[in-house]
């Protein structure tokens, strides 16, 4: 997933001198190739994220195509007002990469964990939000973002849990992608990012249910969600993100207007991580591990 990201921005920058990569003194190994091949298109803005986004807006206004890289705990959280007013208000073509989303930095604590980035960006007009689950979806996300037609945010969470898709994603922007077909329509699983694999496992363990991946949070195909809701009793939405304002909230907002399924939001339950440990340990602390989720699903049936 990270390789697809690094290769995509390098290819875009090689094809177009106007493409610039800005980072806030992060991305130590990730950009070695880029810095070697295109040093003049790489800008380390230092540990000054707000200034970096303002600068990116200025560059975009002058015809450049900036890619702004940071940890999602900083981009967008620390630079939300700059994203809102300096970039989105003028619909400037800036691509934001939020790395380490969720609790990837499991031993560094809450300052480096981002479980609210989707929620805060959803309410800013003009910015697309992409949340890829694997290399194929990352390619799909980068293909959208690197058109530089409007502001984009690509959420990069846990990236070493293997691929879900074998071939490239060919659905229109905003569509959900089926990742498991189940015969039982009682429950339908919807997930994004790192939780897609989890949803597939649950769908085949808790019964024989269908599962869908959501690579694009915004825009999203509302009609498709409405149809899914009317063909099932319960939609379980999984995300490594707070349940307040994330994908679950978005699905619930849509379904409650059209009726159909009950919507259950499974994600970070409005709490900070407490302890320190491995990624798996922290996923368990937030009860997003398979065992905890299966137990929860049993109580719902």
């Amino acid at each position: 997933m990270r390789t697809v990201f690094a290769n995509s921005i390098l290819a875009a920058a090689q094809a177009d001198k106007k493409v610039l990569l800005l980072t806030g003194d992060h991305g130590y190994a990730l950009f070695d190739e880029f810095r070697k091949v295109l040093p003049e298109q790489f800008i380390n803005a230092g540990i000054a994220e707000q200034n970096m986004v303002g600068v990116a807006a200025g560059l975009a206004k002058a015809g450049y195509k900036p890619i702004v890289y940071g940890l999602s705990a900083f981009v967008p959280i620390r630079v939300l007002e700059q994203i809102k007013m300096d970039v989105c208000y003028e619909n400037l073509p800036v691509v934001f990469m939020g790395d380490g989303a969720g609790v990837v930095y499991s031993s560094l604590g809450s300052s480096h964990q981002s479980t609210e980035d989707i929620a805060v960006l959803r309410c800013i007009p003009n910015i697309s939000i992409l949340s890829p689950c694997d290399a194929q979806e990352m390619q799909y996300a980068m293909d959208q973002a690197l058109r530089f037609a409007s502001p984009h945010y690509v959420r990069m969470g846990k990236s070493d849990i293997g691929n879900v898709h074998t071939d490239s994603i060919a659905v229109p922007v905003g569509d959900l992608v089926n990742v498991r077909v189940g015969k039982d329509t009682k429950i339908t699983f919807v997930a994004t990012g790192s939780m897609v694999k989890t949803a597939m496992t649950l769908a085949g363990t808790a019964g024989d249910f269908s599962a869908w991946s959501v690579p694009s949070i915004k825009p999203i195909n509302k009609v498709q969600i409405t149809n899914l809701a009317q063909a099932t009793d319960m939609m379980i939405v999984l995300e490594e993100h707070t349940i307040a304002g994330g994908l679950g909230s978005l699905v619930a907002e849509i379904v409650c207007e059209t009726g159909g399924a009950k919507v259950i939001r499974l994600g970070v339950q409005d709490r900070f991580s407490q302890k320190c440990g491995s990624y798996e340990y922290l996923i368990k602390e937030h009860q997003l591990d398979i065992a905890s989720l299966l137990a929860k699903i049993e109580t719902l049936q």
């Binding site: 003194d25 991305g27 230092g46 540990i47 031993s107 300052s111 302890k275 320190c276 440990g277």
Partner: protein
């Protein structure tokens, strides 16, 4: 352990870094002497209570240097050997970056540019309470890239917080390279003076120089906030780490751990043994 001897503090940092397989070793080693002098001679905790309301505040704004502070908290008895040996183990409480939920840590400062403002607020509170508490804020030179740091300096001068002592760990490096090549800060002593601070630049690894600077600045009760620009070496104390920025990210192996521990078996020659008050 005797009196925050730097070579012993560094040994504790190495043990933690090795058991937890962590990074940020270089960032901790550059502030060891600063921490040692502060804990030994300056930061006052009534009845050795880290939560005493009348305590001085030691704010580590460059939160990724926290292993240096953990080593001191261990010597203070507020962290246990279990904490040290189980660093990063599942369920452990000590994180890789400073966290205010840890006893003895005043701020959660993994994100840079936050801790100083919080420290300024504590210094202001002390003034409002007419207490003689001090706030010692250790900040990184790379961290001075953040705009919020300069906002904090303006505010501290505006509020005449002469009980605030900002100590800049000027090791010349930050994550991706030399600070002067990323976002240069120029002459920090002049910049702090221009912001109305009484500022001194000292060798950040000489306990005597640090101690004298602290005493001199604390004697000046003139309404001006204080600053010490500590010239330091990233990775100080272990020959193969000094001036090597990769030790911002490199984890210890069995052999590098053994080599480093061997170098730290006795007090470093540069800071003479007599400097450790016996």
């Amino acid at each position: 352990m005797n009196n925050f001897a730097p070579h012993e503090l560094r040994q504790t940092v190495l043990k933690m870094a090795y058991s937890g397989s962590t990074v940020h070793i270089g960032c901790a080693f550059s502030i060891i002497e600063i921490m040692s002098v502060l804990y030994r001679n300056h930061v006052c905790y009534p009845d050795n209570n880290p939560d005493a309301s009348a305590r001085d505040y030691l704010v580590l704004s460059k939160g990724h240097g926290v292993m240096a502070q953990y080593a001191c908290l261990y010597e203070k008895g507020w962290l246990t050997t279990f904490d040290i040996e189980n660093y990063f183990k599942d369920g452990s409480k000590l994180k890789g970056l400073s966290d205010a939920h840890v006893i003895g840590c005043e701020v959660t400062s993994g994100s840079l540019g936050h801790g100083l403002s919080v420290g300024v607020g504590m210094a202001l509170a002390a003034k409002l309470n007419q207490s003689d508490q001090y706030c010692y804020a250790i900040v990184g030179d790379g961290e001075m890239n953040e705009g919020t740091m300069w906002e904090a300096l303006l505010f501290a001068q505006q509020q005449s917080l002469d009980n605030l002592i900002v100590i800049v760990d000027e090791n010349g490096f930050q994550a991706m390279g030399k600070t002067c090549e990323v976002l240069g800060l120029g002459n920090l002593k002049e910049k702090f003076s221009a912001f109305g601070f009484d500022a001194l630049a000292v060798d950040g690894h000489s306990e005597t120089a640090l101690d004298n600077a602290l005493i001199e600045l604390k004697n000046k009760k003139n309404g001006s906030p204080k600053a010490i620009i500590a010239k330091t070496v990233k990775g100080k104390g272990v020959s193969f780490m000094e001036h090597k920025n990769e030790w911002h990210y490199t984890r210890l192996t069995q052999s590098t751990f053994a080599l480093a521990m061997a170098e730290l078996a006795t007090p470093a020659s540069s800071t003479s043994a007599s400097e450790h008050a016996q």
